[in-house]
């Protein structure tokens, strides 16, 4: 109401002084031009490194592009053939299923693990700081290093199997060479790598809660679980939606750990969409197939990106 009144007042003053209004308009126009100039480098970079390559990728997906034609052309138009071939050869369908499994595992473990770690880290203390530092370290590790360490840990002679066998199991768990275990293992490692990031974001949301809320809850006799259920979870709900989408996008791009830990094996058991696209483009040198598979992955990520943008807008509103 106050704002509306002020606005009306300003308008009437401006009406009374047309010269000032004109100068104001000019200044606003200049400012807007200046802002546009500052935007140019960003738009140019985005166009050059984001939009143009994306257009090229889609263009390739509809052409026959191999190592023999990638540099010299011409690229033969094949319509949807690159997309349908992948399904007909039985590669794309299973890869989509595996990708969805990986997304489900990474998202579930990543979200729950991230929240649990954030809840644990909310309190202050040396161990909390130490754990936080450790998590940031894990988060900052290059995926190749992280994957190599996990490959070593999960091997037959690795630490995890040593513990498992120490507990009485007679044979090692085939973490990385059994068809089902291998997919679960790479998804687990993917989740492990995203937990620190999720924990940091959740922690920021938890730290924004007024301490008096917890004090009031304590006076009412609420236990720890009650604090989690009735204070923390509702408080992080807006953050959770954004983080959920980001985690799903991260999981959808699952490539690095598969490359390092299983190379898609055994056989094709851990070929997710991104890894299948890699094999098609950079192992079989059929860039058309690889582009088509990548376009499918891009569509998946794009849908999630739209959801993300909407949820951000909602949160800001």
């Amino acid at each position: 109401m106050t704002t509306m009144t002020l606005g009306r007042r300003e308008t009437s003053r401006a009406d009374r002084r047309p010269g000032r209004q004109l100068r104001g308009d000019k200044r606003a126009h200049k400012n807007s031009l200046r802002r546009a100039v500052f935007l140019i480098p960003g738009i140019a970079l985005l166009g050059l490194l984001g939009v143009y390559p994306l257009i090229q990728l889609v263009w390739m997906a509809f052409h026959r592009v191999t190592n023999a034609t990638i540099n010299t052309g011409p690229w033969e138009w094949v319509g949807l053939n690159n997309f349908t071939q992948g399904f007909q050869m039985g590669e794309t369908g299973p890869a989509i299923s595996r990708t969805l499994i990986v997304v489900a595992i990474v998202t579930l473990l990543g979200m729950i693990g991230g929240f649990a770690a954030a809840a644990a880290l909310r309190s202050s203390g040396w161990w909390s700081s130490a754990l936080l530092a450790l998590m940031v370290f894990v988060w900052a590790l290059p995926p190749v290093v992280n994957g190599s360490v996990w490959k070593f840990l999960l091997s037959d002679n690795g630490l995890v199997n040593a513990i498992v066998m120490g507990l009485g199991r007679s044979a090692p768990v085939p973490f990385l060479y059994d068809t089902h275990w291998a997919l679960a293992s790479v998804a687990f490692v993917g989740a492990f790598a995203v937990i620190p990031f999720n924990a940091l974001v959740f922690r920021a949301a938890l730290l924004a809660i007024d301490p008096e809320v917890f004090e009031a809850a304590a006076l009412d006799g609420t236990n720890k679980w009650g604090e989690v259920r009735h204070i923390m979870i509702p408080s992080v709900r807006p953050t959770s939606l954004v983080l959920l989408v980001l985690t799903m996008v991260y999981a959808f791009r699952s490539f690095d750990f598969i490359f390092v830990m299983t190379y898609g094996g055994p056989g094709t058991a851990t070929n997710t969409l991104p890894f299948l696209g890699f094999l098609q483009a950079f192992a079989r040198f059929n860039f058309g197939y690889g582009a088509a598979t990548s376009v499918l992955a891009v569509v998946g990520v794009f849908v999630l990106a739209v959801i993300y943008a909407r949820s951000i807008r909602k949160e800001e509103a």
Binding site: Y52, P53, L54, Q56, L57, W59, M60, V65, T66, N67, A68, T69, I70, N71, T72, G73, P74, W75, M89, G90, P143, V144, K151, S155, D156, P174, L176, Y177, D178, T179, A182, R253, F255, D256, F259, V260, T262, Y263, G264, G265, P266, G267, T268, A269, P274, G277, F278, L279, A281, F282, A283, R284, F285, N286, F287, G290, A291, S294, A297, V298
Partner: protein, 427 residues
Amino acid sequence: MKKRTLHTRMAGAAALVTAGALVLAACSPGGDSAAPASPGTADSPATEGTVTVWHYFSDPQQVALMEKYADLAEAANPGMTVDNVFVPYDQMNSQLISAAGAGSGPDVVIFNGAEAATLALAGALAPLDDFWSDFADANQFPDSVIHTVNDSMYAVQGYVNLLGLWYNQDILDEIGVHPPTTMNQLEDALAKAVEANHGGITLSGLPNSQGEWQGFPWLSAAGFTYDNPTEDALTAGLDRVSNWVDQGWLPQEAVNWDQTVPFQQFAAGNFAFAANGNWQMGTAQADANFTFGVVPLPLGSTGQVYLGGEGAGIGANSAHPELAWAYLTASYLSVEGNLAAASLVGSLPARADAAADDSIASNELLKPFADTITQFGAKYPSAAIPPEAVADVQLRMGQAWSAVIGRQHSPADAARTAISALNNLLG
């Protein structure tokens, strides 16, 4: 027309980068440390200037060999400087292809010889025909080490690498068997070794070209060939390795092993046998605390062993190809270079005169590999595979090999899938 080609090349390079960026998002396997140097651009006489050499060697002995090549070339060509640039194996082809699209790349590239067709078709290698026809020592090299694509020569191997059967003599003595010469003897020895609580055999079951390279000898022993690929023969070959896993003679974990890991397992003394290459000689001598030896793989009458090794070629966009050729003739293709490869890495010289050298003939570890060339030697890749299908065939067969060892598919299912793919690829 030229404009169109340039546009396509630029678009190709951009698209390649894009596909890579999208697919490899957040994953550059060791690539950050391997930014290739730009090729030399100075206009210089044939024996002066910098020669940029791309290679993928990380093993200390192999790196020492590259340094030895540089020393030989620089000594023979005063004014030449050699710049060895490491590019990870997994990135070598894609980097060469994208560099070719951008009009850059190395002067010399040392790569997996089997992938010559892939690189040549992509325009990453320069034809060597003119250099080769003027090369005085060309007749020292057998045809099997010369890589031609569409009747043009693009690469040559200075040495040959191949698989043999490494054995742990201490374990064989304990279980009372001799180094096997037949498949039955090998399987009998494997059974006895496992009964005595030792490991049986190690090899690579990776679902890529390494798996195909390791699997082909065993598959060919069952009658499989690329000239006439039959489902029955492939099933029989895959059945054999499947049985090895069932019996506990071959660890299922082999699907995660490249060719280095299984030899490390063997060198640690855990296994009776390792199907591995002559290039492991240095590792065996350095790491194995037991008596070891090598015999040819016991592959029977139909068996074949690929004659592999690194091919050397000149980059398509080399600013001074004559200098690059001078580097190759002074190092990789010279007698001294061939002998250095044998002494440092254990590779068999490709040159006839170097192969006849006393240091080679008297080497007990190299002799079984030399015998294998005569007995089972096969061109790598098979001439029956069209150049444009080589990479695809290797991947499909590697996946079949891995799928059986890892229990993803039965031998019959894996063979059916692979043969179906081969029928399309082999034409």
